[in-house]
Symmetry: C2
Subunit: 333 residues, 2 copies
DNA sequence: TTGAAAGCGCTAACAC
DNA sequence: GTGTTAGCGCTTTCAA
């Protein structure tokens, strides 16, 4: 059947403790012994059983990743960042989709803790009280990636969403626009309601422009929603001339909606997005967009997690990555 | 510390076997006993240790997923399909990226087998001999998703790439084109070299058109490659008037390349793709594309895997899903 | 430098 | 219906 550490020990005429030592790179093994054991391992094609090891050592070298939806490019980027760093530190990843559903998030947390993951990277667009409570009860560290928890009780990696949004909208203001629409993703998501929307209000206010609720729309973050939103906005008595979109798909929807109705971008309307996925360069005009560096966020979050799991001290538990705006043709330069 | 099955047993005045029974839903427990145990479990917040369970039962209820690159939309779709079905059957997923690198594939296989996964879903665009050998040695079932192995020794889920490509190119032929280019993804990938390219040659041949090697280009499957390919093709003495692209990004690259040079699609050139990701509807003109149903392929592959892990008999180990072409504006109707 | 032995927390006979 | 017990394959003291 499967060959165990015991088989190797017997064949090599040593104890299983010694085999364990060579497998784990323990230095207290005479070179000749090590060589002998290694040969037997090779010959028998011995492969350590990570489950047994996990039970004995209480470490599984796997981390849980809870993500809203892996088929959504933005989260997939983050997942890649997480996985790359995990691999670098020899961790494997248990990946699961929550669909941003609290119940699933809770149950996934539980499942993963049951599987004895050594840590968890959590992406959640809305950290509810219940979720917050469950996370606090976790026996292993959890870091939030691209997700905000109002209480700042968890290590996290983000950018300054408020400031980034503020700057983006300011670009539109600088181009002379007075009627700027904000097409947001779901306002149930903290980043949208607490940062992007607040920034939108603040920047207009700072510019002495009154906020017109008609210019604020919250939709599911999809291409079709973008197209529909354009219809809605453009049929207003005093339609907007510039748009701040919560995501690339939303932005592209607006642009195509406009173009399909004979409008020119950026001549007639200007659009700026918040995401900068690879889609941004694949439309005409190419999108100007706040860069949401999900790969980096994932990678840094995972790195942070390794430190915490490793009980290294970390100076800042709430990492704010620098943000920037990628300027392209969807706004006038 | 952490509460174990033993703690529950003690508190409930039963043996750990009884606790194990109620946890596992075994019917041979008196309702009153079950109730008592359940209460204690609740009170103590007992959470079964899946690692211990895995060691004892030799089942981990987790499956490995080896994928070229999760940040690539097409694979992410597949991953989502896999995960959805896995969840449905109470499996978790260990996800890892291979970057289509044989060495990584081999090492990932090994790692996952070490972690005692109950099965593996493998996506590989090029099943090399070495990989094939390793897979054959696996103690747990492996199913290929959207990936072909020449020998047909593994269960797999695919569409009929040859036939689908044949039909797609035929559409171009029917529209009167004689100069049809094939912009392929890497020819190192079996699907590209063995099916798409062969179909391209065959369909031309069947139409009495000689294959012009100048009209065949193989590039990395990216938007930029598509744009570059357009440059190459359009500078030919007798440039192509229609294009069969191996992926949506390639197709969009061609279209934008053409449009940026004043060509109209589909009036001046026609383009048909092979993928049909959500990108297909997000370009103007929208892409006509062979549908590569990755979500379904992933889902069916995972379902197939559950059957095999469960030792149910499966009638067909090589599933060929139906294919279809989504007709949109990038070709004349 | 090496070995013996006690678990890790659970499942699965087997007995009662 | 319930309890006893022997592992599952490994890590980790503790001795030698």
């Amino acid at each position: 059947m499967t060959v165990t550490i015991y088989d190797v020990a017997r064949e090599a005429n040593v104890s299983m403790a010694t085999v364990s030592r060579v497998v784990n790179g323990n230095q207290n093994v005479k070179p000749s012994t090590r060589k002998k054991v290694l040969e037997v391992i090779e010959r028998l094609e011995y492969r350590p059983n990570a489950v047994a090891r996990g039970l004995a050592s209480k470490k599984t070298t796997t981390v849980g990743v809870i993500i809203p939806d892996i088929s959504n490019n933005i989260y997939a980027e983050a997942a890649r960042g997480i996985e790359d760093i995990a691999t670098m530190y020899r961790y494997n990843i248990i990946l699961a989709n929550s669909d941003q559903n609290e119940e699933k998030e809770l149950s996934l947390l539980d499942t993963m803790l049951g599987k004895q993951v050594d840590g968890i990277v959590m992406m959640s667009d809305a950290v509810t009280d219940k979720l917050h409570q469950s996370m606090k009860h976790s026996p292993v560290p959890i870091v939030l990636a691209g997700s905000v928890d109002d209480t700042n009780e968890f290590p996290s990696v983000n950018i300054d969403y408020f400031q980034a949004s503020y700057e983006a909208i300011q670009l539109l203001l600088n181009n002379g626009h007075k009627r700027i629409a904000f097409l947001s993703g779901p306002l149930a998501y903290t980043i949208n309601s607490k940062y992007k929307l607040e920034a939108y209000k603040k920047v207009l206010q700072d510019a002495g422009i009154e906020v017109d609720e008609q210019l604020i729309l919250s939709e599911e973050s999809s291409y079709d929603s973008g197209i529909e939103a354009w219809e809605t906005f453009s049929s207003l008595d005093n339609p907007p001339t510039a748009f701040f979109a919560g995501s690339d798909e939303l932005a592209i929807g607006i642009i195509h909606g406009a173009q399909d109705h004979g409008k020119k971008v950026p001549e007639d309307i200007e659009v700026i997005s918040f995401e900068d996925s690879k889609l941004a360069r694949m439309v005409r005009p190419k999108l100007t967009s706040v860069v949401f560096p999900l790969y980096d966020i994932g990678a840094v979050a995972m790195r942070l997690l390794t430190k915490i799991m490793n009980k290294e001290k970390v100076e800042e538990k709430e990492v704010i990555l620098p943000h920037r705006i990628e300027t392209r043709q969807s706004i006038k330069l």
